[in-house]
Amino acid sequence: MTRDPCDKCEEILQDYLDRTLTNEEWAEAESHLEGCDYCRRRYRFEETLRRYVKTSAAERMPPGLMDKLQELRGLDATA
């Protein structure tokens, strides 16, 4: 069974971005991305999306929570 190289590229997207590919798989992906606009655009989009998800989902600690946590110190002091 022959497979579309772009399907293969889609399949290893996660491992590529997570940097968990073997050297051989990585070289294979690089050489495909070199010659394939379609996949290259999608890989770049995915990287941007990950950064965006991370910043969008970050929410700072509400004011006052740190004081409440500070008050918990010493819970084990008498044990």
Binding site: Y38, R41, R42, F45, L49, V53, S56, E59, M61, L69
Partner: protein, 194 residues
């Protein structure tokens, strides 16, 4: 049997108090990062606040069971996710009760179909999605997939850390992460591409 010398005993107590205080300071310095993960694991801000407080109360009571030199952030998150499960938040559903997610290129393909291939070259393409839609999309993922996505993609934990925190095999982390990210993109596509 002889009682320890009072002076020796006093030194031991003082040394232990110092260790405890150092532990507490190290743990508190991580509170912002712990909260950031907690906030996305649960639905409401108040719930996240409670969970973080319970986590620190538990951590301070059991500081002796922390091994110095190991990853304290992962240790705190392990406590937190266990408490979260104890709260009964999670009703385990079988993974196949969710329709199969689309492929990894799904969102990019939808955006390209709506605006042309070139839009994917533009950094702003993701900004079409509001921060709210990202937060809502994360919240819509089934808990067992969301936990992994939040730990790895928001909390910057490694696969190995996430496996330890959730007490699941590393292969399960990888497959849940894959499915969780696909579900996230599917939801974002539904929300943002006409």
């Amino acid at each position: 049997m002889s009682e320890p010398e009072p002076a020796t005993e006093a030194r031991r107590i003082a040394a232990e108090a110092r260790d405890r205080q150092r532990f507490e300071e190290e743990a508190l310095a991580l509170a912002d990062q712990v909260y950031r993960v907690a906030r996305r694991l649960v639905g409401a801000r108040e719930e996240a606040e409670d969970l973080v407080q319970e986590t620190y109360a538990r951590a301070f009571r059991s500081w002796r069971s922390f091994t110095p030199g190991t990853n304290m952030r992962a240790w705190l998150l392990r406590i937190l996710t266990n408490l979260n499960v104890d709260r009964g938040r999670r009703i385990q559903r079988t993974p196949h009760s969710q329709p199969l997610e689309e492929g990894d290129y799904y969102l990019a393909n939808k955006l390209a179909a709506a605006g042309g291939e070139e839009v994917l070259e533009q950094e702003q393409v993701v900004e079409r999605m509001s921060q709210d839609s990202v937060v809502n999309a994360l919240a819509s993922i089934q808990p067992q997939f969301r936990d992994v996505v939040v730990l790895v993609d928001i909390g910057d934990f490694t696969y190995a850390d996430a496996a330890q925190i959730l007490d699941i095999p590393i292969g399960t982390v990888m497959s849940r992460l894959h499915r969780g990210r696909r579900a996230l993109k599917q939801k974002l596509a539904e929300d943002t591409v006409p």
